[in-house]
Structure formats: C-alpha cells, structure tokens
Amino acid sequence: MFSNLGNAFATAFEYFTIIYLTGLGGLFSERSGIVNIGLEGMMIIGTVSGAYGVVHWGPVGGLAFGFLCGALYALIHAAATVTFKVDHIVSGVVINLAAVGVARFLSQLWFGQATQSNPGEPHLHTLNIPLLSKLPWGLGAAFQNMSPMVIVAFLLVFPVSYLLYRTRFGLRLRSTGENPEATRSLGVAVAPIQYAAVMLSGALAGLAGAFLAFEVNDHWREGQTVGLGFIALAALILSNWDPKRLLGAAMLFGFAQAIPFWLNDAPIIRLLPPEFVRMIPYVVTIVAIAGFVGKVRPPAAAGRAYEGGSSL
C-alpha cells in the first residue's frame, strides 16, 4: 500500500532542499536583526533568473545566476530596512509583491513570454547513492537519480554552523541581532553586517529558486514557488533560528509537501477529497507554527530599527 513511499521521499528531499536553503537564508537575515518576509519574492527572482542562467551557462551557471540575482534583489530589502529604516515586514511584503512584476518583466525580456520559459531545460548529472539506492520495498527510489544539490543542502549544515558559531563574522552577526547598540559600542559597524546578512539570505533563496525552476521542474513558470518561502520562514521559527534544528523542520515540511503528490492513495488520506489532500502542507505548517511559536525565542533585536551610526 506504500508502493510510492520511495518516490514520496525523493520528492520530500527536493522540497527539503528548497525549504532548507531558503530557511538558512532567513536565518542569516534574522540572526542579524532583519526580519525577512521577502524570502518568497527573492525565491521568485531566483526561479526566473535560474531558468535564464541554465540556458546560457548550464546548470552550475544557472544556480550561480539565481544566487547572484537573489542577492541583488535582496539589496533592495537591505537598503529599505537598514538605510531607510522602513518597517521590516512592510518592506518584505512589498519585496514579495514587486517580485511577481519583476519576474514577469524579466521573463518577457529573456524568454519572450511573460509567465513561463520553454520546458526541457538541462539538469545537473543525477546521482545514485551507493547502498541506499538498493533499499527494498521501493524505498531505494528515494536515493536514485538524486540532484547533487540535495546532498549539498544536507551538508551545508556543517559550514553554516561553523560560520555562525565559530567565526568572528558569525559572532558579530549574532550579537548584532541580539543587541546592536552593544555591538557598536565594541567598535563593530552594524550596517555592513546587516547588508551582508540580508544579501546572503537573498542569495540562498535565489539559489533555492533556481533549483526549483530547473532541477525540480524543467522550466520557469509563474506561481511556481507556491508559498515555499513562507513555509521556509515557518521552518525557521520552528527551528528556534538554529541551522541544525532547521534541518529537521525543513525535512518535516518537505515531507508534508510530498503527501499530495505521492501518498494520496495511502490509508486515511484516501478518504479525503483531493482538494483536502492538497491542503495538507499548509495545514501542517499552521499547526506546527501554532503549536511551537510560544516555545521558541527569536533574536532579541529582530524587526527593530537600529538608530545609531547612520546619518538617516
């Protein structure tokens, strides 16, 4: 009855990758004190630019171009929140709204059509994981023809944790998010750290978008991101802003995404109308957020405009 479990895991891994990369982006931004609701919009920019990059410079180039364009787009959020002190959520909402328009415009410019690119874009070489891909009961399918990006995303937990907890940049980043005044009093310039963090978050969301456009799908399509940027945000809250716990949260939401694709004939789920099966990822997110949000602690200065050290 679970014949599709292997495929469900494979899909879950793909969505895990998108949610984890984007969630890590949010983590850098929010740990520096800048709330980033604009992840969804940055991911949208990543999808359209990744689809363009892959046609011209191949899969690696496509990922890099998504990364770059995401960072550039995030620069707007950084300028608005850090330099102009716009409310972080207002700016993030506007970033998301504007992204739809920017993506359409770029699509028209690059592909000659406003809402999609041509299907059949190339992929990275897929991998079969030794041993695991031979698992019985169809489970092996989960580890066959994997995108290398899935493994890269899994392994990112190590460098990110190191960067955040073991380097000078990480310490400054975290202390900026907790107490920018104290950080500045130690002679650290707050604004450049926040700019770097927000651009890094845009870059990772853009990378996730590029992965979504031509690794998960084979072309760019409007509305492809289906709220994954917000689900990544929910995963980030659930993880208490920690890269290791984010791994688990992203896996949970990734699996919830896979249910409508592969497990709609599983027991109990089979009894629901198909429309209700499609609600599952969203409902899981709401339940998780409502159940956990009181038990976590966001960075103390997140969402607050820091007044010192700037002319405006």
Binding site: V100, Y282, L312
Partner: protein, 385 residues
C-alpha cells in the same frame, strides 16, 4: 510636546507636514516614471506617448472612466481590509483567502435566496462579510491564543482557501441548471437578478453594458466608515493605541488580544466584499476561473494610499488606471505590457521608502520645534505614524 505651541502654528505645522508627504509621493512617482521612461526608450518608443495613451484610456471617455472605476472598486475593499489591520500593527496578508471563501459563502445566498426579492442583494453582502469574518477569525484567534504570526498563518490559509473553493464548486455549489455535457467550465448556479448589484450606468449616461454598480458607492461609504471607526470610536482609539505602542496600551487597561481579534474580524468583513464585483457585477455566477490576486494588490494599494481611508480611494483609482493601461499599451504602442507591472512594482517600492523618509523628517522636525535634541526620537517616530 505640541501643547506649548498655539493652535495657529499647530495648524501651519500640520500643513507643512502634509506638504512633505505630498512631496515624498511626487518624488517616488517621478522616480518610478523615470525608470519606466528609460525602459520605454530602450524599446525605442516615446515615454510621453506611452504614458498619455495610458491616461487617455481611462480619462478620455466616460465609458473608459467607468470601466476604470469598476476595476478600482474591489481594490478599495481589499486595501481597506489591509489598512484596518495595519493600524493595529497587524498584517492581513490573508485578504486573498478571505475573499475567496467569502465568494463561496455569498454564492449560497445568491443562488438560493431569490425569494427575498429586493432584500436579496444586501443579504448576499452580509453572507460575504460573514464568510470573510469567519475565515479571518482563524488567524486572529491563533495569533492571540498561541502567538502564531498572522503573516505566516494567513499565507497558508490562502493556499487552503483555493482548495476549499475548488472543492465547493465540484461539490455543494456545483451548477444544477445545465447538463454536464453542455458546461465545460465549472461554475455555480446562475444568480437571479435580485441578487445582482444594481447597475448605476444610466446615472452617468454610459448605459447598462458597463458594470458600474452600487458597489462603488458602497466602497466609498466603507472608506468613510473606516475613517469614522479609526478616528471617532473607542475601538478605533484602542486599535491605534495597540498599533503604535502596545506597552502603553496594556498599561492603559486595553485588552490587546480582544482589540486584535475585533480589528481582524472587521478586516475580514471588508475582505469579504472584495469578490462581490466579479460575482454580482461582472458575472452572475461564481466561476472556477475567478480573478485571484486582488488581496495582494490590496496590500500595494493600501501602502500607496498611506493606509488612509480616503488616500486608498485615490490609490485604487491610480492602480486601476495603470492596470487598464495595459490594454492601451497593447493596442497603441510597441512596448511590452509588462512595463506596467514593473512600473507598479517600482512605484510601490519607492513610495514606501519615500514615505518612511518623510515620516522621519517630520518626527525630527517636531522634536526640533519642541526643543528636544535628536538623540531619542525613537518614540516620536512612532507617533508620526
């Protein structure tokens, strides 16, 4: 701090501040149009020709003007819904889902309550508002009871709403008045005339083929009601107190959670009216391929109108002129219609930044006039909102 200055100077100050906001808006508009001009020049067309084609399309004829107002009407409801929440420092990103659910709930009354006669139209509107309120109650209660941020929950509920409406149209609301083979597109039953929004076209002399109807005056009336609610009622005062300074509000004996839920419900009721133009004005049924996205556009319109109920009417008209301009550009110029979308995107980004800069300048000015040093203008910044 303003108590020391007399009324005359206070009024002059207010005028100066208003002027600063106008200047900020004009600067943002000029910037957006400037960037748009560069793009248009890139396509070897004349910016003036393109912009005047856009403006003429909505203001050149009475027919064009009323069609523009038809587009603006749902945006007024949508932006009002966003702004009511925003005044209490909450973000209703869920207007989108609320109006979808409201359309489905209103369809029940519109399709089946024909016996009500002239009373049916108002009853349908009440059903729509109840639908919107009911769906807005979920994020409101979750926020107050669990602390789940409304931005995340409302976005997720938007996704749920799409599936809910799809399910309703395949099941309980599915048409019964035609054979399945005849109807390819899924829709509800057709509504009787008494459910429809009364047409006002004849008042403007454009005829009844233009769906200019009672919903526009209702939208303007709602703007006035929202203004009254925020500025002249106890709940409005409490909402603004919670929005600008939750700490002081709590110290002042305001129950923050109760205010937040009430405000969210009002926002949901307004959101419920967003979809009425398309089911009671443009169509006489709920189709599966309904127009989506009006909730998100409402956010842009609310910020463009500075979350002021009357500013929102102007902003909705401005947005509608631009949206309608896409057709003008398609017909009359060689520029891709996406120029309008990028123009709207740049405009909303620059407007938000320009207003923020103006707001801070105003806060500084107030402090300087009150003889306070610049150092702690954090609080005054909040007050200027």
């Amino acid at each position: 701090m303003a108590t020391s200055v007399n009324t005359f100077t206070a009024r002059r100050e207010r005028l100066t501040e208003l002027l600063m906001q106008v200047v900020a808006f004009m600067a943002a508009l000029a910037f957006a149009l400037g960037v748009g001009s560069l793009i248009i020049l890139g396509y070897h067309d004349s910016p003036i020709a393109v912009y005047s084609a856009v403006v003429k399309f909505s203001f050149g004829s009475l027919d064009g003007f009323s069609r523009m107002l038809v587009i603006a009407t749902p945006l007024i409801f949508s932006a009002l819904a966003v702004s009511v929440c925003y005044k209490a420092a909450m973000f209703n990103i869920g207007v989108e889902g609320q109006y979808l659910v409201a359309m489905a709930v209103a369809t029940i009354a519109a399709a089946h309550f024909g016996f009500l006669g002239v009373l049916q139209f108002p009853v349908v509107l009440v059903f729509a508002m109840i639908g919107g309120m009911g769906y807005a109650a979920i994020p409101a209660v979750l926020k107050v009871k669990t602390g789940a941020h409304e931005v995340v929950t409302t976005i997720m509920l938007n996704g749920v709403a799409v599936s809910l409406v799809a399910w309703a149209l395949r099941g309980p609301l599915k048409f019964t008045d035609a054979s399945g083979a005849f109807n390819v597109n899924l829709r509800s039953d057709l509504f009787p005339n008494s459910a429809m929004a009364p047409n006002l076209g004849h008042l403007l002399g454009v005829g009844t083929d233009v769906p200019l109807n009672l919903l526009l005056p209702i939208g303007i009336g709602c703007s006035a009601l929202v203004w009254f609610l925020l500025k002249r009622t106890r709940l409005g005062y409490e909402a603004r107190a919670v929005g600008s300074s939750p700490g002081s509000a709590r110290a002042g004996g305001i129950s923050i959670g109760a205010v937040q839920i009430k405000v969210f419900l009002i926002s949901g009721a307004l959101a419920g009216l967003v979809g009425m133009q398309q089911i009671l004005g443009l169509n006489n049924y709920l189709p599966l391929n309904y127009e989506a996205g009006l909730g998100f556009t409402g956010i842009a319109v609310a910020f463009l109108g500075q979350n002021n109920p009357f500013g929102i009417i102007a902003a909705a008209i401005m947005w509608a002129v631009l949206s309608r301009g896409q057709d003008a550009i398609l017909i009359e110029t060689s520029v891709p219609v996406e120029i309008i979308i990028i123009l709207q995107a740049i405009l909303i980004l620059t407007v938000v930044i320009a207003f923020q800069v103006a707001k801070r300048q105003i806060a500084r000015r107030r402090l300087r006039l009150a003889g306070v040093q610049d150092q702690d203008f954090d609080d005054a910044d909040e007050e200027a909102a």
